[in-house]
């Protein structure tokens, strides 16, 4: 008897689990929970590695895993870094805001803290000049056989720990000064996002055109 009831119920079992089919309906909550839950799942770790391989491949092909090219950006003698960054910003901006408008992705706007952004940014720049690689291009430089980057990697790890040691103090001082939350450039001008992007992209294009014309 038991075995018969079990088998007759089995074909019905998919009906008893409607939750997976309902999930796509409540997008916002669903995707948020999914993403947070999966952040360290093996699938996301694999994806992280794959995206990293692509990123590193592109950085090397672009020539920005080289000390001389990165220092050239700081001396304003080599504009490869600016060309890559501004093109990435323009393409990514169009793509990500379009996907966001269609409900495919969530935004991750970084919070604005004027004092920390400025002071931290200047300190970062000084370190960037001393090392000659940034955190991403440093990993790429090491992959390309620029062995001096290994000292930079150890320095990055050590520096992160020094920051962590001071994080309690910094959180209650510099990081509090001029905190403005997740504001975006159009907010500063009181402009609508779509209208801002439509005028900002040609501006980026114009800057790139100027760079190409005067510093090929």
């Amino acid at each position: 008897m038991n075995s018969i009831t079990l088998t007759t119920h089995e074909p019905l079992s998919p009906v008893a689990f409607p939750t997976p089919q309902n999930k796509p309906n409540n997008e916002e909550n669903g995707s948020k929970e999914q993403a947070q839950g999966k952040e360290n799942g093996s699938k996301q770790l694999m994806l992280g590695l794959v995206f990293g391989v692509i990123f590193g491949f592109l950085l090397q092909k672009g020539g920005v895993a080289k000390y001389d090219v990165l220092l050239g950006a700081l001396f304003l003698t080599d504009f490869t870094v600016m060309k890559i960054m501004l093109t990435a910003i323009a393409v990514g901006m169009i793509g990500i805001f379009s996907m966001h408008a269609l409900g495919f992705v969530q935004l991750h706007v970084k919070p604005t803290r004027y004092a920390a952004n400025i002071i931290g940014g200047l300190i970062f720049g000084a370190g960037f000049a001393l090392l000659g690689y940034c955190p991403g291009t440093g990993a790429a430089a090491l992959g390309q056989g620029n062995y001096d980057a290994v000292a930079g990697v150890f320095g990055l790890i050590a520096g992160s720990y020094v920051y962590a040691e001071m994080s309690g103090y910094l959180d209650s001082t510099i990081l509090k000064w001029g905190t403005r939350g997740k504001i975006m450039l159009p907010d500063l001008l009181g402009a609508r996002l779509s209208r801002f992007i439509v005028s900002f992209i040609p501006l980026l294009g114009l800057v790139l055109f100027g760079i190409e014309k005067y510093f090929p």
């Binding site: 093109t87 000049a129 000659g132």
Partner: protein
Amino acid sequence: MEYDSGAWSPYLVGALIGMLSMATFYFSNQPLGVSTSYARIAGLIGKLVSKGHTESLKFFQETKPQIDWGVMLMMGIFLGAFLAAYTGHEITAQWIPPLWEERFGPNPALRLGVAFIGGMVMAFGARLAGGCTSGHGISGALQLSVGSWIALMCFFAGGAVTANLMFGI
């Protein structure tokens, strides 16, 4: 067409990085960013040395020391650059960059010492600013974050002044 700096056009590379950003947002709900991964590794090493102290630090309570998506991304960057350089016959296998040697000589200890200090200073700045050249400079800037544009300009301003001091004096 020949490019002085890289094997591929910088515009092609930039466009592909922009598309890669779209992919990481869509498939992983993550922006491209690298500097936090060094901090997570620092925390992992710190936990090996002194677990209690590391866990008591405010920063590591917010940024968990663990192997996450970003740490895998960073390892991928290393691998991907190796693959690109190996297949493109561009492995440099050098300890001292030519531009450095021209100015400061062939002493590897000097180069590695300055690189280590530079890495330390840069990581501190990245944590204070809230990101690096990819987190602020690409991901933050493309989302029009005000702080990211400020940080990006300060990266280059601080870098230009320091580089000119180093090579000018």
